[in-house]
């Protein structure tokens, strides 16, 4: 597959990430985390490069990328809003909050606003179970979340 994204710059940055980790025990997850941090997702073009560097098949690398919820195969919106959907948050009205947030943003879970600013995702537990329901966006956490708090979080991030 030819892809214009494999520029010299892309390859250089990718190699730097791989070289940083390849001698560690179990290097693949740290590599994938760094790649996602760098590009916002794991570009498919990176998979054969990683495979070759680590002595794996491309299928094995792809199998790992696709196994974990965290790794994306396409970019997200500029901001990612995560709402916890787990039991403790459900006990405090997380389902109703999710309905309100979806209606307010006009998108469903795993969707991005048309302007590409915001992606909405479910998360299963942020460990904020004693101040449920909870939400997260970047470094910001919200406990005892309600629609107003979530909207403020979104507005303050410029999303």
């Amino acid at each position: 597959m030819t892809n214009p994204a494999i520029s010299a710059d892309f390859r250089e940055r990718l190699d730097a990430i791989i070289n940083l980790h390849k001698d560690r025990e179990g290097p693949l997850l740290p590599i994938l985390h760094d790649i996602q941090h760098e590009w916002g997702f794991v570009p498919e073009e990176s998979e054969p490069v990683i495979a070759q560097a680590l002595g794996m098949t491309r299928a094995e690398v792809h199998g790992v990328v696709s196994f974990y919820h965290d790794f994306r195969d396409h970019p997200s919106g500029r901001h990612v809003l995560r709402l916890c959907r787990a039991e403790a948050c459900q006990s405090m009205g997380a389902d109703a909050l999710a309905d309100q947030v979806r209606a307010a943003l006009g998108i469903d879970f795993h969707e991005t606003t048309p302007d590409g600013r915001l992606t909405l995702e479910p998360v299963f537990c942020l460990g904020l179970c004693a101040c449920a329901p909870s939400a997260q966006m970047g470094d910001k956490l919200v406990g005892r979340a309600n629609l107003a708090k979530v909207q403020r979080l979104v507005t303050e991030a410029g999303a």
Binding site: G26, L29, Q90, F124, G127, V142
Partner: protein, 511 residues
């Protein structure tokens, strides 16, 4: 005067960073220390003002409260948010804080404060008494895996210690994915040096020189604080070629998961740590003999490892004096969900669920009656309020078809929809299944479908659901498929009226 504002993620989620910034503006001359949380989450952000060794609490503090609070402190006036000395609060006094003794008390990133509050005593003693005595002490303590499986920690260590290999490992399971559990996170943020000390002791005991903390990616604050603490421990000679100047070497690092619940299962965790798909491994071989990279590995829950320093400092016998039956010592009970006073409460095993939920937790946050509590995470049973006389212990909960799990208790009021919660358990299992074994992979999907049939009025589905749960329970490779029947069957057994025909339940909860 010293001012304390928690850095704990729960405190931050309730505005602690803004409160700390407001205090820094009002009190430019005063040191503001970011501590862990005391565990009283309903009082967060809990600001503490230390004067002459007494720490006075104020909470929950909003950033707008700060100017008035500072003024009241300056002139010595009363303030409506004043709680008095924090150590004297009933919630604090009623606990036996051993594992969490320093959480909320010290600056989590000060080795000096750590030592001044009892830190490193366990590691020093471990170095003096040597590996086999450490293992014996741990066996005597009766400490069992705090991740839920309840396997005796000392026995596991003995197996690894006896294995012959050029390299062994200590792996800390900090993949705390259970809803209702936050003890691991709270300790990593509030007293990570305790975990480091516990892992170093484990390394000495079994002859391992490298440790990994496998932490879920949903905990960025915990990862940051723990990594800073590891750097601190290296500089302070706690980690490295010579642990505290001894003949033992030990070093460790944090590895970050990638959002897979099943990686909390130890063999799946090891695969993930190796950079593979987080699928479960069949046992045997057990990880103690063939674990990380096929080498002997101790895989312990974070709370188990963080309890080791206390046991070594005070002796296994002292620890075993606490608790009931085969549940020795203390357990950090995490009270969450629809509860008035949510947080972490460390106590000896043996309190009843009624005492924990009604007395310590103060009943529901909504003020409505408690309907049930899910104990032990998403794979734990829903215990109905009528069974709250059950004492908190491994065998005691198992006797009521429940699980202790990671000691999280999620409270639900009488508006809880038990069929929907049962459906959620199956759906969650379907989404998170690693796919290796059929009962879990297919059974959970069929479980969702069957519950939908029941909801639509097909009462024949109930028997099918019971049969399916039985197959999953006994036929699954690990606890994900094996325990998902617990919440389902408990909901069905205790609330059968809710499993009769009615409208379609919500479908999207775990999608």
């Amino acid at each position: 005067m010293r001012v304390w504002v928690p850095l704990d993620a729960a405190a931050k989620a309730l505005g602690a960073d803004d409160v700390a910034a407001a205090l820094a503006r009002e009190l430019p001359e005063t040191t503001i220390t970011r501590n862990g949380t005391r565990g009283m989450i309903w009082l967060e952000p809990l600001v503490e003002i230390e004067r002459d060794g007494v720490r006075l609490g104020f909470g929950p503090v909003d950033p707008d409260d700060v100017p008035g609070l500072v003024e009241a402190i300056r002139i010595g006036a009363a303030h409506p948010l004043a709680l008095g000395p924090v150590e004297e609060l009933p919630w604090m006094k009623a606990q036996s804080r051993l594992t969490f003794a320093r959480v909320g008390v010290i600056d989590p990133l000060s080795l000096t404060e750590y030592e001044a509050n009892g830190g490193l005593a366990g590691l020093r003693r471990a170095i003096v008494i040597g590996p086999s005595a450490v293992v014996e002490d741990l066996i005597q303590s009766g400490l069992r895996g705090r991740g839920g499986a309840g396997f005796p920690t000392g026995i596991k260590w003995k197996t690894v210690a006896g294995a012959k290999a050029s390299q062994k490992y200590i792996v800390c399971n900090a993949d705390e994915g259970d809803s209702g559990s936050f003890a691991d996170r709270m300790l990593m943020e509030g007293d990570p040096l305790t975990l480091i000390e516990g892992m170093a002791i484990a390394g000495i005991a079994v002859g391992a020189t490298q440790g990994y903390v496998y932490c879920r990616s949903e905990y960025p604050d915990a990862i940051r604080v723990t990594e800073a603490a590891i750097a601190l421990a290296r500089r302070g000679g706690v980690l490295g070629e010579s642990v505290l100047g001894s003949e033992y070497a030990f070093d460790m690092e944090v590895r970050v998961g990638a959002g897979a619940y099943v990686c909390g299962e130890e063999t799946s965790l090891l695969n993930s740590l190796e950079g593979k798909r987080g699928t479960v491994r069949a046992k045997p071989p057990i990880p103690a003999l063939e674990g990380f990279l096929g080498r002997p590995t101790v895989v312990n829950n974070l709370v188990s490892l963080a309890t080791v320093p206390w046991i070594l400092a005070n002796g296994g016998e002292e620890y075993a004096k606490l608790g009931i039956g085969r549940s020795k010592g203390t357990i950090p009970i995490q009270i969450s969900g629809n509860v008035r006073h949510g947080g972490l409460f460390e106590a000896a095993f043996g309190m009843t669920l009624a005492e924990i939920i009604e007395e310590v937790g103060g009943g529901t946050a909504s003020g409505r009656p408690v309907k049930a509590a899910q104990v032990g995470g998403p794979l734990g049973a829903y215990i109905p309020a009528k069974d709250f006389d059950v004492p908190f212990g491994y065998e005691e909960l198992a006797g009521r078809d429940g699980l202790l799990g990671h000691a999280g208790i999620t409270v639900f009021d009488d508006t809880a929809d038990m069929l929907k919660l049962a459906r959620f358990a199956m759906e969650f299992c379907a989404v998170e299944s690693c796919g290796k074994c059929t009962p879990c992979r297919i059974g959970s999907v069929r479980g969702v479908e069957t519950i939908d049939r029941i909801a639509a009025g097909d009462s024949d589905g109930v028997e099918i659901l019971k049969d399916l749960c039985n197959t999953m329970k006994w036929g699954s490779l690990c606890a994900l498929g094996g325990f998902a029947p617990f919440p389902v069957m408990s909901a069905l057994t205790h609330f059968p009226d809710e499993f009769s025909g009615r409208n379609e339940p919500r479908k999207e909860a775990a999608e």
